[in-house]
């Protein structure tokens, strides 16, 4: 049994999951702006996002174990693609303070479980893959509007679209999680 009742109408389920992840991302961004609360906000926000996937079957979230080697290789490939522009641009990249590294891992896993896991599955059930890809990308971009300047939202949307298309094309969430963690640790 998921957080959202398994027997709830797909529309209700998708609306609930979408509203929940947006609220959590908004709360995380708001608390993150407060002095001394950034790391706690990231870790708790990541945990709260992961909560929405709690109880869902692993296969429904794209977390099956078949072809696990390919999934890991895919994750490395996604990480390389996400870092490619920063790597090519200058040979130097932004640095993440060590204290934020654990928080970055927590929030990237939480975001993948929420957006490409639970939300994607709910939208897929409601309207199929096109709605799942477009819907999860739009909500992912909207959620990042709370924490990112508008100039960055194009890159955020494109990253969300890439991860969602991978989720659809490979029926896999392991690679997006690995790729997202790699990108967040480096950037």
């Amino acid at each position: 049994m998921s957080l959202v009742q398994a027997r709830a109408h797909p529309t209700v389920r998708a609306a609930f999951v979408g509203a929940y992840v947006l609220c959590i991302e908004w709360a995380r961004a708001s608390i993150q702006a407060q002095p001394h609360l950034a790391i706690a906000a990231l870790i708790l926000g990541g945990a709260a996002l992961a909560l929405v996937a709690l109880g869902s079957p692993a296969e429904r979230l794209g977390l099956g174990t078949s072809k696990f080697g390919l999934r890991i290789v895919g994750g490395l490939a996604l990480g390389a693609v996400l870092l490619l522009p920063a790597a090519v641009r200058s040979g130097a990249a932004p640095l993440l303070p060590a204290g934020l590294a654990v928080a970055a891992v927590a929030v990237s896993i939480g975001e993948e479980l929420a957006f490409r896991g639970a939300l994607y599955a709910a939208l897929d059930e409601l309207g199929g893959a096109p709605l799942a890809i477009v819907g999860s990308t739009l909500l992912w971009t909207a959620a990042h509007a709370f924490s990112h300047p508008p100039a960055f939202l194009g890159a955020v949307a494109a990253a969300g679209l890439l991860l969602a298309i991978w989720r659809w094309a490979c029926r896999d969430l392991v690679a997006p999680i690995i790729g997202h963690v790699i990108a967040d640790l480096a950037l």
């Binding site: 002095p35 080697g69 920063a86 640095l95 890439l162």
Partner: protein, 239 residues
Amino acid sequence: MRRAALLAAAVTTYVVAAWMVAPGFYDGFGPPQPYNWTCAPSQAGANIKPSSGHLDIKVVGGVSDANSAFTGDGQVVIGFLPGAFDATGKTTISVDITPLPTCPKPSGIRFVTNVYQITATAPLRMPANLLLRYSNLEPAPTDISLASDPAGPWKSIGAQQQSQPFTIVTQTSSFGYFSAGYSSASSPSGSVTVGGGQVLPIVVAAVIVLVVLAGVPLAMLRRRRSAQPEDAETHEDEA
């Protein structure tokens, strides 16, 4: 085939979109806005020159008010407690924050922020809180340095242990030139070095090579298996 084509299109779209804004996709751990550089590093992309700031502090009954001076872009904030200034004979105290148009490189220190000159029309009687924002394109600074002349000598005035990400805070008892940095004799502390310097391109290149080396045999293995009758596991994720 259609899936592979869409995936390739998504990769291309991402690379183009991320190329248009430095550093590309990142997940909100960076500063709320790009740093405005006096001397921008090569990876900074489009740069806006840093702002200055001005504040007039009222003096009531010989005691200066509590107030904060800050630059227009928020990269420097200096806060004063009530009575922080020696306000003898004054009714107003002016504080000015001006980014230095040059970028001093004193030996032994690697500055990661602009150098700012902070002046006031009265001397301090109590320490003021100084906050400098820094960029995520540079390693985190370990302390703030102060000099009475940009040519030096520069003296560390420390840093508080706790501050918001990408800001460094300390207290100062005098005005002059301020910048945040770290000792160039040692690696900066508090940064994940895997993401920085020349390491990133090497890591990305290694990952690409690994993906190609590991991906080709895995793809061949998969193709060989798909030529055989599919077993139940093939459909494991299609539920």
